[in-house]
Assembly symmetry: C2
Homo-oligomer: 322 residues x 2
DNA sequence: CTGAAAGCGCTTACAG
DNA sequence: CTGAAAGCGCTTACAG
């Protein structure tokens, strides 16, 4: 039987809706006898009463929902951890996290016709128009929406590439290449990494790195031959999948890794650990990122200023490939 | 200014709330002059009016929201595709998909206090109690909730293992091992796979396969030595990461792949394609799965009987490791 | 200690 | 062709 309302519970328990509401919500100031409380709880359970979220939200003027907008990125363990942590932290405040996979197909504004979140958390920056619309609707906007956070994001991506270049340069490599992706969903990251590598090379007085698109699912043999012809001895890969494809290319081309070609990836993926040689890579501990996002959301909810982006926790894990 | 209501728009446009509602919702029977329509749209845009989702839902008795409950699985490209497709298909009906990462920490029933979905889609089966509570609340329940779908899920997981065993057996391997995981989040899959492999071996008159837990992030050297001592020549791995760890173990143990040890994975992951030797694996095209889920949701929404699970599309991709 | 009543913002018969 | 009014289910001052 769909549609058990608080009136039904009140009738079954022989009290008014007011009392039902007080008891079921544990309203602080309400003094209701233990006997009555028990009767109400029993009636609610027996009838399978579930309060109407819509009515609650309408009446209170705010919901217990936080919507997290996920950009069109390939999902993986990092996003999982960040979301799980956010869900846990907000659960402690009685809030629920729901994730919206925003694939650009539809206008974000349409979403607010279907749901009224207390706050919206973006993993990537929103457009200025979207931010304005949300704030006009009284929705708290958190995440990479502010220019400040944007800068932190940019710095962190460039920093990863700098770490890779520095590792290679410290080992004496002077001519580098960047193995990048042309996956459109990743372009924001990829472009920042290329820029970061270029800057890092410039800082060390090295020539700008060659930029080459590599596919994760086939050996990058041609790229390796091409690099070899141009004197490249070190490769900065966008991630471990691409690094593995470069190592495979080197194998095909008959170049030993790291002897003739050093390769460094990003992600510290399992496949890299068991590869031959094991992949040198950049690991990004997810804890600090998760903590920062959760803290930012809490700060926004409390109207407090957000904490600063944590000192960047990425670090090189030296294994066999560079 | 948070809180622009339809009254504000009505006042600004010099009409009643009724007319505003008719125009903004494009209500079929409403005959409103073009001039009035234009005035209303202009006023709404100027004021930045966003209708209250809670009020709409309360009044209409149903929302435009579909909540997809994601079990505690590691997210990856498959889940991404399925969700994206579902989002697209439901968008065509004016419905929005929001994903709830259900990490078991919290009672599902609490969620309905925060949101009133039109339907709930489960990627894994719900408990009987959860299903009962949702139906009592008038929520459509779709997905692996029914025993029928459960069977299809089981069959499909066992079928993958059978495919692996059959491939190995056809190549003459008689003593097999299963490389499995002890990741608790994956136990439902892993157990079904082990059972499927055991059955497939029995069908072919082979001895039951050895079951060995392997970690994805280190070479499975000890497991390989152990298997070798027991005459194992073929390994069925839970996924490509594990298969790669087995291949690495064989390398350490001095056994050639596939000569002395044949290995077959699942997933057709990029890292497997560029490995040496390239990994033989089982690929599961995601299209049919996505289509089936979307069709099931649509069927539930229309009160029609759900389509049957598609004939299982998993297939062996033969490369170098088995 | 408990209940009657107002009102959150919307949609939709219904009356004009 | 347009508007006044009811009511969705809840919470919360307020009155008793």
């Amino acid at each position: 039987m769909p549609g058990v309302t608080s009136s039904d519970v009140a009738r079954a328990a022989g009290v008014s809706r007011t009392t039902v509401s007080y008891v079921l919500n544990d309203t602080p100031g309400a003094s209701v006898s233990e006997a009555t409380r028990a009767r109400i709880h029993a009636a609610a359970a027996r009838l399978g009463y579930a309060p109407s979220a819509a009515a609650r939200t309408l009446r209170r003027g705010r919901s217990d929902l936080v919507v997290c907008v996920l950009p069109d990125w390939p999902t993986g363990p990092v996003v999982d951890s960040v979301l799980d942590h956010l869900t846990d932290v907000l659960a402690a405040r009685g809030l629920f996290v729901l994730v919206h996979h925003h694939r650009g197909s539809r206008d974000l504004a349409d979403l607010w016709r279907a749901v009224t979140p207390r706050a919206v958390v973006g993993l990537a920056p929103f457009s200025a128009a979207d931010v304005a619309a949300m704030e006009r609707a009284g929705i708290q906007v958190v995440g990479a929406a502010q220019p400040a956070d944007d800068d932190a994001f940019d710095r962190s991506q460039r920093g990863i590439a700098a770490l890779q270049v520095d590792h290679l340069a410290a080992a004496g490599h002077e001519r580098l290449a960047v193995a990048t992706t042309d996956d459109a969903r990743l372009s924001r990251f990829a472009d920042l990494r290329v820029a970061g590598a270029r800057d890092a090379c410039a800082r060390r007085g090295l020539r700008p790195p060659l930029r080459t698109v590599v596919r994760p699912d086939e050996a990058a043999t041609r790229a390796v031959r091409d690099w070899h012809g141009q004197g490249v001895t070190g490769v900065v890969a966008y991630n471990d999948d691409l690094a593995l494809a470069v190592v495979a290319g080197a194998r095909e081309a008959g170049l030993t890794v790291p002897g003739r070609l050093a390769v460094i990836g990003v992600d510290d993926a399992p496949a890299g650990r068991v590869a031959s040689p094991p992949l040198t890579t950049v690991a990004q501990p997810v804890g600090p990122q998760s903590d920062h996002l959760a803290a930012s959301v809490l700060a926004a909810l409390d109207g407090v200023v957000a904490p600063p982006w944590p000192h960047d926790p990425a670090r090189v894990v030296v294994r066999g490939s560079a």
